[in-house]
């Protein structure tokens, strides 16, 4: 097959022309929201899950369901004449520049009313800047970097918690256990070296210092390392009371396997979710982490008290084959809250939606989350998005903290204390 020079020139010109000409006419009874996620590359699993979640949420909005959630009971957005919500998905491939390009495309060509995303904080930073410039609201669904809401953006909103809130929950839990007489003095941190791990470790080190816990090892490792033997050895040598990993799924699986291979059974593991909230990790190494504790935004136990939780979980499971977890639950609520803002604004004008969102006042019972309420402060952050701690017991997650949400007492320690050398001092 020979490509001629004409083919090349025609092809190049045609693609550029096609792009310029592309601008879909906006249907009047449709509200379009742009979703930016990594849909290919190393983080595609998270992006694909997000797609399932947002489709589920769009269903809840667009069809009439008997659930005590915003926009569930009506079909579509009543404030805009029953308009249906359509989500357009764009792949940012974990690159902030591509995220920006896709955001611009969605805003200028597809005329989206709002943006939602983005799984990675670096891309969310870039996309939210773009949204700000075009006066389009951006709802941060599950990105947790504490710096995101502190950049003075007016169109940035985050209904879920950020890393400082998550880590605070973990340390509140430690304080509670200490008061009950459990021995928790030393911690070892195990975190990957990208934004997530770095942010997480920073907040944990700060809180440990403030609350009097000693860090005997601060192991920063290269994400997606082929081998973690050396790192786990150092954790083992540090012999801390609690191991606190901040890892994605791949590293989480490797960490657990390597710990088992090297005969390291920490007394307790309290994880910063991420990989430790994913089905695939427990599918791979669940038998080795009985009793592991992870922070989470979501607690399936809540279904016993709140029917909407169970029903939404069923809807999601039908699409994805998995239960809702820390990530997907946040994404689900994010779309609902965003659409609710648009509904109350009764308009697709960016400023009006922004005002409506800023006025959000949603009681926690009307969400699927263990949150107190949804109310955005002047930086766009919801400070009442209370996290929970879950413990992995016999194949299920059991809520053990805070006390109001707990359905069981925590099993502590996860593994019996082994006699060993005291850890080295923190580096």
């Amino acid at each position: 097959m020979k490509i001629s020079r004409r083919d090349v020139l025609i092809g190049g010109a045609a693609s550029l022309a096609a792009v310029s000409a592309c601008a879909r006419a906006q249907q009047s009874n449709e509200i379009v929201i742009g979703a930016l996620y990594p849909l290919s590359g190393a983080n595609a699993a998270g992006g694909v899950d997000a797609r399932h979640t947002l489709e589920t949420a769009a269903d809840v909005i667009n069809t009439s369901m008997d659930l005590d959630l915003p926009l569930a009971k009506s079909a579509g957005l009543a404030g805009l004449g029953g308009a249906k919500v359509t989500v357009l998905y764009a792949d940012h491939q974990s690159d902030p520049q591509k995220g920006r390009a896709e955001a611009e495309r969605l805003i200028t060509q597809k005329r989206v009313a709002a943006l939602i995303g983005a799984y990675q904080s670096s891309v969310a930073a870039s996309v939210s800047q773009t949204a700000e410039r075009y006066a389009i609201p951006f709802m941060a669904a599950e990105v947790s970097s504490p710096s995101l809401h502190r950049r003075g953006l007016k169109f940035f909103f985050r209904a879920a918690a950020h890393d400082e809130m998550f880590s605070k929950a973990m340390f509140d839990f430690f304080d509670l256990l200490r008061k009950k007489g459990k021995k928790i003095e030393t911690l070892s941190l195990f975190h990957e070296d990208t934004i997530f791990g770095t942010d997480s470790a920073m907040t944990q080190i700060k809180l440990a210092g403030e609350r009097g816990y000693k860090i005997t090892a601060d192991i920063k490792y290269r994400a997606n390392s082929p081998s973690l033997t050396a790192e786990v050895q150092q954790l083992k040598a540090a012999h801390a009371d609690v191991l606190m990993p901040s890892s994605y799924t791949t590293d989480g699986i490797l960490l657990v396997k390597t710990m088992a291979e090297l005969g390291y059974k920490p007394q307790a593991i309290v994880a910063q979710a991420a990989g430790f909230s994913e089905d695939s990790l427990y599918g791979a190494v669940g038998d080795k982490v009985e009793g592991l504790i992870s922070r989470s935004s979501f607690s399936l136990d809540l279904a016993a008290k709140r029917p909407s939780v169970g029903k939404v979980n069923e809807l999601f499971k039908a699409r994805s084959g998995k239960d809702l977890n820390d990530y997907t639950s946040r994404e689900f609520m994010a779309l609902l809250i965003l659409a609710d803002g648009i509904d109350r604004a009764k308009s697709t004008d960016g400023d009006k939606i922004r005002q409506a969102l800023a006025a959000t006042n949603l009681p926690g019972e009307r969400t699927i989350m263990p949150w107190k309420q949804v109310k955005f402060d002047e930086t766009g952050q919801n400070n009442d998005a209370d996290p929970v701690l879950l413990q992995y017991v016999k194949g299920k997650f059991v809520t053990i903290f805070p006390v109001q949400a707990a359905v069981a007492e925590p099993i502590w320690p996860m593994n019996p204390a082994t006699p060993g050398k005291m850890g080295q001092t923190a580096s």
Binding site: V48, Q233, G263
Partner: protein, 292 residues
């Protein structure tokens, strides 16, 4: 840092290094034979891992037993890739090397896309292999069974490869073609056939590595990327085209990685490997045992 810790690090590094060697040797073979960089080498590893997972799920064969079968499948796959893509890429009159890089780069992207399409990006594992979760403890030093098996397979593969190259006609044809691809036609060796079989052999070796790794590593479409860079550095360190070089370099890389992690924050452990590579080629510009 106790003697026990150091010994554990070194032994783990050795086992890991033997795996790196096995992953790298296929690449080195193809390099040496026809001066081609297979940019899709990591994806070949990924394909082998998925194939192993598939066989385990569908036929309930343990990865140890299916390893030879995977090697055979990958042999066929490699030969096919040569016949379907590389052979045409080598027809370029100029920039032959770069064109091969480009076409194998395209192949790498294609394979990742296909993997994502067929298997979704979810992470998978083989739960109940015979070796799963078993580990020997000797005097406080832990040696996990999957890694031991991996090291043994690697050693056996290298042994077999030496025999193949030194003792068989095919091996001699391989060497001859490597030395002077232009002249071999004069002695009746079909160059194309040797290249195709060479690709097959190189792919079979990385197939073995994939089958072994599927026993203890997670599997997803991008898994090859983490190993590709180490494979290339290992091959270059040992010397392109040198089978023994791949073995020696793999072991060195594994050990250096383990030692570096003891001395600097683990997130920088690869820098040790890179420093060693640069130091070696400064004194031996063709790697440790390279002759090209």
């Amino acid at each position: 840092m106790t003697a026990e810790t150091i010994l554990q690090s070194l032994l783990s590094g050795l086992l890991t290094g033997l795996m790196y060697a096995l992953i790298a040797v296929g690449l080195s073979l193809i390099f040496g034979l026809m001066d081609v960089v297979n940019f899709a080498h990591g994806e070949f590893l990924m394909a082998a891992m998925y194939a192993t997972l598939g066989l385990t799920l569908v036929l309930a064969i343990d990865p140890i037993l299916s390893a030879p079968l995977i090697a055979a499948l990958m042999f066929a796959f490699g030969a096919l890739v040569y016949a379907g893509i590389i052979r045409f890429a080598m027809r370029a009159r100029t920039n032959v090397g770069m064109v091969q890089i480009f076409s194998t780069f395209g192949l790498a992207i294609l394979m990742r896309g296909l993997a994502q399409f067929f298997f979704t990006p979810d992470y998978r594992s083989i739960q109940h292999a015979w070796t799963s979760g078993r580990t020997f403890s000797v005097g406080g030093v832990y040696l996990p069974l999957p890694q031991i098996v991996g090291a043994l397979v690697s050693a056996a593969a290298f042994g077999g490869l030496f025999l193949l190259i030194k003792r068989t006609d095919f091996g001699k044809a391989l060497e001859a073609t490597r030395e002077d691809a232009g002249a071999v036609a004069l002695v009746g060796i079909n160059r194309n056939r040797v290249f195709m079989l060479g690709w097959g052999l190189g792919s079979a070796l990385v197939g073995l590595a994939g089958a072994v790794m599927a026993m203890f590593f997670y599997i997803y479409p991008d898994v090859g990327a983490s190993f590709a860079l180490i494979a290339y550095v290992t091959v270059a360190l040992g010397g392109f085209g040198s089978v023994f070089g791949a073995l020696a370099a793999g072991v060195i890389v594994g050990l250096v990685e383990a030692i570096t992690a003891m001395l600097v924050p683990p997130s920088l452990k690869s820098v040790g490997i890179y420093a060693v590579y640069l130091a070696v080629v400064f004194f031996r510009p063709r790697g440790l045992f390279g002759s090209m």
